[in-house]
Amino acid sequence: MKKEIHFRLNGYEVAAEVESHKMLLNVLREQFHLTGTKEGCGQGECGACTVLVDGLNVDSCLYPAFEVEGKSVTTIEGLVGEGNVLHPIQKAFVEGGGIQCGFCTPGMIMSAKALLDETPDPDEAEIKRGISGNLCRCTGYVQIIESIEKAKEFVQAESADETD
């Protein structure tokens, strides 16, 4: 069966006609051409497909597209600011060397965002817990964790600037 679904995508109200068996991952990549979100395992273990739905990090490979009706979805493309300015978390990953091949990176950053939105000052254990659903085959995680520590500061600095 097909249905038109309406939701908020990276800040914009959108609509799409979607088939009932499609997962959110398919809709984002194939219908909206937002290919930043990746398919890794398709089973909710690698986290390469991680996006935010109503602020919570979820595996879009297992998220039925119909369920996104009326909700707010954020993909990695949604983090980039006006004038192509990198989000503080993205900047932290670049400067922290938290990226090698880049395949896990969009999902890793979305989980980092969900973590920092809820816990602005996580300790190392909380960071590890926050990314425990995101696998990286390249880095060994050390610089990813360091990037998130750096991201903490960048995010706090940015909100300090905003309140000045």
């Binding site: 009932s20 068996h21 398709g42 909710g44 986290g47 991680t50 979820v58 595996d59 369920e67």
Partner: protein, 284 residues
């Protein structure tokens, strides 16, 4: 992936009507983190899914002496809830190590027990707390004690038209201590053995003992030989070692992709011993 229709009823009545209309090849879906994987693996091939995600009456928890948890309450909310942490710490510990954050943001206890994997992390805590599962179908509602709920791997006592609506956990008396431990190869792995222990202590004497283990038998299992050993006794080191040995003897593990029969047998004994020691320490 096989095509299926997807329905989103607002209430139980609508859900049951849809199930009746769609027939045998329609399945209820909660968070989907088990079911959709099974569909992708072709273990099941439903023609239609009936989502429970919009049914508000299935969400949330209540406390009136006993604790009542709605089947569609999200694990992420359970692990953050102060009331639950105090009243059912073993259950919250299990939820905290279940899968990963992305899964916990959509997955539910109703789904976890309905999927009825022998390794279901919620099962050992619910077993040791003597929980009751309320299920509902077109014919009405009924209660099933948790120890009668699981019939085999992937099989429950529910009939195909029924769903879990609430899980009721009786209030624990003063002197209760409980613990949950899980063994997996890595973080976010399915358990190769998981264990829960609940003790009611009067001074040094154990008045009531409940021990349960998962992933080491066709269903999550109460370990009665361990319970009999500890009830009425003072809990000391030799006793906990004996408890571990009895646990290893009582479980019925198999060798599979995650672990061997021998390792599971050994590690479940160790986990039971450690969980008893932890439960004693936590007696309130």
């Amino acid at each position: 992936m096989k095509k299926f229709d997807y329905y989103q009823p607002d209430n139980l009545g609508q859900a049951f009507k849809l199930k009746e209309k769609s027939g045998e090849n329609a399945k209820y879906i909660a968070g989907g983190t088990d079911l959709i994987i099974r569909i992708k693996q072709k273990a099941v091939q439903p023609d239609a899914l009936i989502s429970l995600r919009r049914i508000d009456s299935l969400k949330g928890f209540e406390e009136n002496g006993n604790i009542s948890i709605g089947s569609m309450t999200l694990f992420r909310d359970m692990e953050r809830n102060e009331l639950l942490k105090k009243a059912c710490p073993a259950l919250v510990e299990a939820v905290r190590v279940l899968a990963n954050p992305q899964v916990r943001n959509v997955a539910t206890p109703g789904g976890n027990i309905s999927n009825a994997a022998p390794s279901a992390d919620c099962a050992p805590p619910l077993l040791v707390m003597d929980a009751t599962v309320t299920v509902a179908g077109p014919g009405g509602e009924r209660d099933i004690p948790i120890e009668d709920f699981f019939l085999g791997p992937g099989k429950t006592r529910m009939d195909p038209t029924e769903i879990v609506t609430r899980i009721m956990i009786p209030k624990t008396p003063a002197g209760t201590g409980m613990a949950f431990l899980k063994m997996g190869r890595v973080t976010q792995d399915i358990a190769l053995a998981n264990v829960a222990v609940l003790l009611v202590m009067e001074g040094e004497t154990c008045r009531k003992c409940r021990v349960a283990a998962g992933a080491v038998a066709p269903v999550p299992l109460r370990l009665h030989t361990v319970e009999t050993l500890l009830e009425g006794r003072n809990i000391k080191k030799d006793l906990t070692e004996e408890a571990g040995r009895r646990a290893s003897a009582e479980v019925q593990p198999i060798t599979d992709v995650r672990s061997t029969e021998e390792y599971r047998r050994q590690v479940s004994g160790t986990l039971v011993k450690r969980a008893i020691e932890a439960a004693v320490k936590r007696v309130s």
